[in-house]
């Protein structure tokens, strides 16, 4: 093995830095899944009748569905009866300020380097931190309220804005959509809700931190973002997960609705625990995220699956970086469904595989008959580190309109030895050189991220690859 290869192996072979468990008293309901559990979740959250009905409809539909098998990932069958479907930190008192948050929770965030207090004070980002399932602290709420922006936890929105929930919940991802989305619809515990009124431009980046903490707890998040006519919002979501031995399940649903001339920018960083070097542990993550450009000239640019471009002149953008290490497998990608005229979409996907990681891009670009003048550009690049990893590209392209124009490009390569040599020759050590090259590889995506997040993303990237650079 040549020297740079060895250095690479050392870098990618390090332990997961964010693996730690916080002891917080938890309020759990029994393991398993049946109608009573669904009712119990709904009752615990004190939900109105329509929510319970919606959940039950979803649950009954779920019973008739089969687990999909088309993914290029392998995992032992999941026993859905052997999971907890609800877990919340036990303190049920309504919190007025961050000071009242369980110090352990705050400490966890501190370890992650995203201290809430810090963020609130320094960065001006409003964070709706999700620690397991119940929101523990929401910041900058008052400031957003002045503009009429609603940014709160999903359960709060159900209580306070049931009309909006009723109107938009399931409008993009119906409860019958797919196996995991249906499961989510039945048992989702909490999530974030954003509503931007007509013509309002959100003055700050909205952000949520997800973090799976209680072991064996399926985390079912539900996010709903609505941008009314002419509104603009940029939304961030990031995840890190602690080290666990049993595989954990995550099945989230994110719905974005952009009305006429509205624009939503949705960004996410996922840094799930990849399992250890033997492939033990790690997170199962099955997510349905979908945006709907319902209005004319609306725009969604984002970093995860599925965009329905329904309004004329609407725009969908997708930027993604996926890193797999150890025995991690990722099968990710996007769907761009062009329905309206002159709709445009861009897909830029960068995959990095290290160790035994298997990284798959699977995307669909569909241009319907009525979508004249539709335009798509897709680019998927893969970077391979280590000789046991894999990178796969499965793009599906379906075009039914002659005036549509689409291009797809993909490349797969490893870090050039000449590039490494060039850096090392100039006194940069192998570790920094690899970091530099990988960051350069991802730059096209990172530059689309909001400033604060881009810095964080780069940090996460280097952590997941070598565990020491901060």
């Amino acid at each position: 093995m040549s020297a740079p290869n060895k250095a690479l192996e050392e870098l990618t072979g390090q332990d997961y830095k964010y693996g730690f468990v916080t002891d917080v008293e938890e309020d759990r309901i029994p393991k398993g899944l049946n109608e009573d559990i669904v009712r119990m979740i709904s009752a615990k959250k004190n939900e109105p009748e329509f929510m319970l009905e919606w959940r039950l409809r979803a649950f009954r539909h779920w019973l008739t569905m089969k687990e999909p098998t088309w993914q290029a990932v392998k995992y032992p069958p999941i026993n859905y009866q052997d999971l907890y479907y609800y877990s919340a930190p036990k303190k049920k008192v309504k919190l007025n300020s961050l000071d009242e948050v369980d110090p352990e929770v705050l400490a966890t965030f501190n370890k992650l380097g995203i201290s809430l207090a810090e963020q609130e004070r320094l960065t001006g980002v409003a964070v709706d931190a999700v620690f397991d399932s119940v929101s523990v602290g929401t910041t900058f709420k008052a400031k957003l309220k002045e503009l009429g922006i609603i940014f709160c936890s999903f359960s709060e929105a159900v209580q306070e804005h049931p009309d909006l929930i009723k109107k938009y919940l399931g409008s993009v991802v119906p409860y019958s959509d797919n196996y995991y989305a249906t499961l989510n619809s039945a048992v989702f515990s909490d999530g974030s809700f954003v509503y931007i009124p007509k013509g309002v431009r959100s003055p700050m980046e909205l952000s949520t931190y997800f973090r799976i903490n209680a072991s064996e707890t399926g985390q079912f998040e539900r996010t709903l973002i609505i941008a009314d006519e002419g509104a603009y919002v940029s939304y961030l979501e990031g995840c890190t997960a602690p080290m666990r031995d049993e595989n954990q399940l995550h099945a989230a649903v994110v719905e974005l609705v952009a009305l006429d001339n509205a624009s939503i920018k949705y960004s996410t960083v996922q840094n799930w625990y990849p399992g250890d070097k033997e492939g033990k542990g790690g997170i199962y993550n099955f997510v349905t995220k979908r945006g709907k450009c319902a209005g004319k000239k609306s725009k969604i640019s984002w970093k995860y699956p599925s965009c329905i471009l329904q309004g004329d002149d609407s725009v969908g953008e997708f930027y993604s970086v996926a890193v797999t290490n150890n025995y991690q497998q990722a099968d990710t990608g996007t769907k761009m469904i062009h329905i309206g005229k002159n709709t445009r979409s861009t897909i830029v996907s960068k995959g990095i595989s290290a160790g035994h990681g298997q990284n798959t891009y699977r995307g669909l670009v569909k241009i319907n008959k009525g979508a004249s003048g539709a335009r798509n550009y897709s680019q998927c690049d893969s970077l391979l580190m280590g000789d046991k990893c894999g990178a796969h590209t499965f793009p599906y392209i379906e075009v039914k309109n002659s005036s549509a124009q689409m291009e797809h490009e993909a490349t797969t390569s490893k870090i050039g030895e000449d590039q490494l040599f060039y850096c090392k020759q100039r006194g940069i050590n192998a570790e920094d050189a690899v970091n530099m090259i990988v960051n350069g590889f991802c730059k096209q995506v990172f530059k689309e991220l909001p400033m604060e997040f881009a810095v964080e993303a780069q940090k996460l990237l280097s952590v997941s690859l070598e565990g020491s650079v901060g």
């Binding site: 893969s382 499965f394 793009p395 392209i397 039914k400 002659s402 124009q405 797809h408 490009e409 797969t412």
Partner: protein, 434 residues
């Protein structure tokens, strides 16, 4: 509808066949009966439904009509008959009178597969049904069940054929819906070279289910042209499997112009260092034609290269499918692979589904693929029109140029020119290529 094939199979097999072939054919029928026709729920057949074939009532053509097929008719139906050796088949039956087996170098065997089964049975047994597996491919299994006729070419070490070998498969049921299962086996020993031109033509409604197997030994150079000019109401299914040894070069030109429903499965395994494969393809369809090209390049060993260019021109209500798979196996380091699929849509109602796949399990590789779909560049049309060329001719010229990138790579001058003329005539009825 597998029962009618089962009955035909039992009737057909009652004749005298060598033991290993009997076993093989029985196995083929068993597999086919088990698999049945593929359906659109299968990923490999997602965009192509074969109901018209499954529901159609096709019969094996008898060999009596063979004598009625004349030289004039052959020249009328074939794209172009080049000088050199050729084998002609009608409805799957060998036509000795129109075939020409003269002028071959010593040691080279070219014959009807049926004859080779008698004369060269050991070698045929070694290679037959190994390059195109039929365990999970219904149509290949069906072909194997009816394996009897076809072409056999054997090139001994160092043999170089200067003239191309032409294989002409004609389907002409005289009103009856016939089915044929042509089989081609090419075994090229080390350092041998040959060009193979496989042509499929016909009249009326019929079903061709072909399987071609090619074994390229060390350093062998095989150029393979497949012309599909079936009638507009015909169904054409072809599976081509290639096995490549060290430093061999396999070049494929696959041109699909006819057929109501066409499916090509072309796959090669680069099984030793230094092997390379070049896949060129053109599909040009209109009306309600459906054409599906599945290609697969398996980089099983290090230091192999492959390049692929498939182009599609879709007019009318036609549908095109491209599915290109590049697999780089673990340890197939220093692989270099390129794949391009470009599609031109000429009408409002045409449809294209393209899926270029990269599956890579090695790290020291250079692979890329690209796919484009679009219509003619208006600025180019404008450029030509500004120079006094009318709009229709301008569009035809640009489309012709688009197709030429593929056709222009065929090395047989006569054949290339004939194809270019044909394509131009289709774009501009009534005008000849300059």
């Amino acid at each position: 509808m597998t029962t009618s094939y089962q009955q035909a199979f039992e009737k057909d097999l009652s004749r005298d066949v060598p033991g290993f072939l009997r076993r093989l054919r029985n196995e083929g029928m068993e597999r086919f009966a088990k698999l049945g026709f593929p359906n659109r729920r299968m990923e490999e057949w997602k965009y192509t439904g074969v109901d018209p074939i499954a529901q159609g009532d096709f019969h094996l053509g008898g060999d009596k009509e063979v004598s009625r097929f004349t030289l004039e008719e052959m020249h009328r139906m074939a794209f172009c008959v080049l000088p050199g050796p050729r084998l002609v088949f009608l409805n799957g039956h060998f036509h000795p009178a129109l075939s020409d087996l003269s002028g071959l170098p010593a040691g080279v065997r070219l014959s009807n597969l049926g004859q080779a089964l008698q004369e060269d049975s050991l070698r045929v047994e070694t290679y037959l049904a190994k390059q195109v597996g039929f365990q999970d491919r219904a149509f290949a299994a069906l072909n194997t069940a009816f394996l009897q006729n076809g072409a056999y070419l054997y090139l001994p070490r160092g043999a170089v054929l200067t003239q191309p070998v032409q294989l002409l498969f004609v389907s002409h049921g005289n009103g009856a819906a016939v089915v044929s299962h042509p089989r081609v086996l090419v075994v090229a020993e080390s350092q041998s070279q040959a060009t193979l031109i496989e042509t499929y033509v016909g009249e009326g409604a019929y079903f061709t289910n072909a399987v071609t197997e090619i074994v390229a030994g060390e350093g062998a150079v095989i150029e393979h042209v497949k012309l599909q000019g079936e009638s507009d109401s015909a169904f054409h299914i072809a599976s081509i499997g290639v096995h490549q040894e060290r430093d061999s070069l396999y070049t494929s030109h696959s041109i699909s112009l006819g057929g109501a429903l066409t499916r090509n499965d072309l796959g090669t395994t680069l099984d030793a260092e230094g092997a390379s494969a070049i896949f060129n393809g053109l599909y040009m369809v209109t009306g309600r034609q459906h054409v599906d090209n599945h290609t697969s390049i398996d980089h099983a060993k290090p230091h192999c290269t492959s390049a692929e260019l498939y182009k599609g021109i879709l007019d009318g209500h036609s549908q095109g499918v491209f599915n290109g798979r590049i697999l780089v196996r673990p340890d197939a380091q220093k692989t270099s692979s390129q794949q391009t699929n470009k599609n031109l849509i000429l009408s409002e109602d045409a449809l294209i589904n393209t899926k270029p796949l990269l599956e890579i399990y090695a790290n020291d590789v250079k692979c890329n693929h690209g796919a484009t779909i679009g219509r003619l560049d208006e600025s180019q049309v404008f450029y030509l029109r500004a120079r006094g060329i009318d709009a229709k001719l301008a569009r035809s010229l640009l489309t012709y140029a688009f197709a030429s990138e593929v056709v222009g790579q065929i090395r047989q001058d006569l054949l290339r020119e004939r194809l270019q003329q044909l394509i131009f005539a289709r774009l501009m009825p009534g005008k000849e290529a300059a």
